[in-house]
């Protein structure tokens, strides 16, 4: 048995396709990710939102509004003169840059051209009644940046409304000039705030998700290893398979050896990728890198079972099986979030609305196993992902066993 396994491992490692897909491809992709995402700037905190203003006579006359906006753009003395400015800036204490990057336009037409060209997120004009009006591009309407600009202006306008409502509801509240000034100061201040919780083992990064998705992708892609080895031992799947089947070694022993060899190869492939991510790309796995071999073992198991299932499909020619591997790799990796932000959104949507679909997706479960290991305090989600992987492997192995059971051929 050991000799068979060793032979299978040796011949597999001489197969260029297996070496490329199982060992080189994940490393190449990880290197590409690492290079591309170095110095990736987070968009978590809003700053330098490009805002245009129509700097006409009305704008100059709207002193309060102008000071607020110029203050938020960090311009000159105005940046420190307004209480409201300080309040909003302190809200976004994480950022060093001002909230707005202000561009002044002489006319509304110039500002309109700029917003339509995408130079600014929105532009602000003051109407004849002295009220601010925000203009956005129809091609880029409803963005977060625009909502933040809107919120700042809403807060400015709601002050007057609140004062009027309070005066009507409780006339004594703003009866004196001191109380009115105190109310205005409180409105512009930042005495009631929020504090951000730090509840994860490791601060999440937008780009780190792709490394975990890559591991899920690799797990499915490695099905090619088991598929190839199974094809080599199955009668009717290849010429070599026909010869192997009539050899003195029982077919069941050959199949077990093929699956064991493929498990070893996939395990080695996953471990090499993990080592690269840990040592070179700096992925810490939440300080639990010692548990990653367990995840790799489960991933290798599901990969082998999947490969054995595809390799043993009766009646399918090698080209169809190759295509199946590619289709499954791409289709299953999509909800795992490998293909950019839309894929991440799709994966999250599926998790919330169709969790069963994610549960039976080995790429998602493989991704989740490493993800859970990194971010969650409890090891329960990690254990659940491993259990799901083992369960999927068991079902696929059963399917493979059914396909590989004793077959009577017409020529026998």
């Amino acid at each position: 048995m050991l000799a068979l396994i060793a032979r299978n491992v040796r011949t597999s490692l001489r197969n260029t396709s297996i070496v490329i897909w199982a060992f080189l491809f994940p490393l190449i992709m990880a290197t590409i990710f690492m290079t591309m995402f170095s110095n990736f700037s987070s968009s978590q905190y809003a700053s330098d939102i490009p805002l245009g203003v129509v700097a006409d006579a009305r704008w100059n006359a709207a002193t309060g509004l102008r000071e607020l906006v110029e203050g938020l753009a960090g311009e000159g003395a105005a940046a420190h003169s307004s209480e409201e400015t300080r309040a909003v800036e302190s809200d976004a204490s994480e950022k060093d840059s001002p909230l707005f990057a202000l561009t002044r336009y002489a006319t509304a037409d110039d500002a309109r051209a700029a917003v339509l060209a995408g130079d600014v997120a929105a532009y602000l004009a003051v109407d004849a009644a002295g009220k601010p009006v925000l203009y956005v591009s129809p091609a880029d309407s409803g963005t977060t940046s625009q909502a933040i600009i809107q919120l700042v202006l809403d807060r400015y306008l709601q002050g007057e409304e609140l004062a009027a409502n309070l005066a009507e509801h409780d006339p004594a509240a703003l009866a004196s000039s001191e109380s009115a000034a105190s109310f205005a100061r409180n409105l512009a201040d930042s005495r009631a705030g929020t504090v951000e919780l730090d509840i994860l083992r490791e601060p999440p990064q937008e780009m780190s998700r792709y490394y975990y998705a890559l591991l899920g992708y690799s797990c499915i892609m490695c099905t090619d290893v088991a598929k190839t080895l199974i094809e080599r031992t199955r009668s009717g799947a290849s010429a070599l398979g026909d010869r192997c089947q009539v050899s003195a070694t029982p077919p069941s022993r050959q199949l077990v050896a093929a699956i064991a060899a493929s498990w070893l190869i996939v395990m080695a492939s996953m471990l090499v990728t993990i080592a690269f991510l840990w040592l070179v790309a700096g992925v810490s796995f939440g300080g639990r890198v010692w548990l990653t071999p367990v995840a790799c073992a489960a991933c290798a198991l599901v990969s082998c079972a999947f490969g054995a299932f595809i390799g043993s499909l009766p009646g399918a020619n090698p080209r169809v099986k190759d295509a199946l591997v590619t289709i499954c790799t791409l289709a299953l990796s999509l909800p795992a979030g490998l293909f950019g932000e839309p894929a991440v959104e799709l994966g999250n949507w599926l998790t919330r609305n169709m969790p069963l679909l994610q549960l039976i997706n080995p790429a998602t479960q493989a991704t989740d196993a490493f993800f859970a290991l990194t971010f969650y305090d409890s090891l329960a989600p990690f254990g659940q992902a491993l259990a799901a992987l083992v369960g999927i492997a068991a079902v696929l192995a059963l399917g493979a066993a059914l396909c590989m059971r004793r077959t009577r051929h017409a020529h026998c």
Binding site: I32, M36, Q44, V133, P138, D170, P342, T351
Partner: protein, 394 residues
Amino acid sequence: MPIVSIACRLVREHRVLFAVYVLLFSIVGALAAGSIGPASAEDYEAARPTAAVVDRDGSTVSRALTAYLENTCELVEVEDTALSLQESAANDYANYVLVIPAGYGDALMAAARTDADAPELECIVSYRNASGALVDQRVRTWTQELYALAAASDAPASELVGLVADAQLTGVAVQTAPTAETGIPVSYLVYCQFALYALFGGIAAIVGTGLFSLRLPSIRQRIGASCVPQTRFDAQVVGAIALCGLAVWAINAGAGLALYHAELAPVPPVFVLLMLVLLLALTLVGMAFGFLVWQLNVRHELIHAICNIAAMVVAFLGGTWVPLDNMSEAVTAVARFTPGYWAVSGMQELVRATSVSPDLVRTVLLDAGIVALFALAIATAGLAVGRARRATQA
């Protein structure tokens, strides 16, 4: 034309690759476009990020704050357990999770009336974009307004939260700048961006794999012994590659138009036409790359690896999967030397387009032209490789 027929038959025999690269990626593109929601409406609607509230207080203030978030965000359920909060934070299930501590409402009112700082609300802010920061600003604004009212008036909290709610009806007027025409919808843009993989890597893989047999020594010897001159043979192979590329382009474009015909209805046909031109230019690059891979005579198993890795790199550097705006200047500078960057740049021009102008047409055609130049350069490299190999063999 026998070589064209043979080449076409060889490519046709690999029709399963069409299913993998063309149909599958069309579906993937459609799913990805569907995940970003419908096209933006004509009228402005403020962003509605996802938010979750964990209310441990249950007071009038906390209920009013929850109601406010319900009006301005899409509320999602998050359980009040450490694991649920961690899952939400790590996976970004909600852009913002607000945890209202027990006793918060009373403490806020008391702090406002004693001129002390209010207790802080706890929150988890999305790490992926500024949506969470937006909700945080909204929460801070709301609580500060309540704080100011409570400091000024002795009225009960139930009345003050009503005043805050009334004030939310006041806000800046937001208008959409009028335009002559409607640009390409974002959902169709996402679909077309995903098509980049199929049109570049897909075509190259189909061509490289499909025509692999024509490089086998036994077949080369038979063709060499025939009366077909080498230049004619090459021209016919190029013809077969062109047919294959056009077929992929037609399938992908047809699927896109069928899926998004309703959203494209108000868009001027010129914009759609220009989008198809950009996709055609990308198709040329895919064809050229396939030709180069074929000329390189690489091993069969290497073809898919080369095409997929190249397609992934081009897709990432084109900003199709992750916006290039967030990447470093060095990456952006490198991206300019890839066809995906220029194709996506042209596509984005069409999304921002507000009227059919000569400038716009010129800009998009220029982008398409640059993409076509990449195709020309790659095809030239393919020809040079072929010539060098023939010289070596001679």
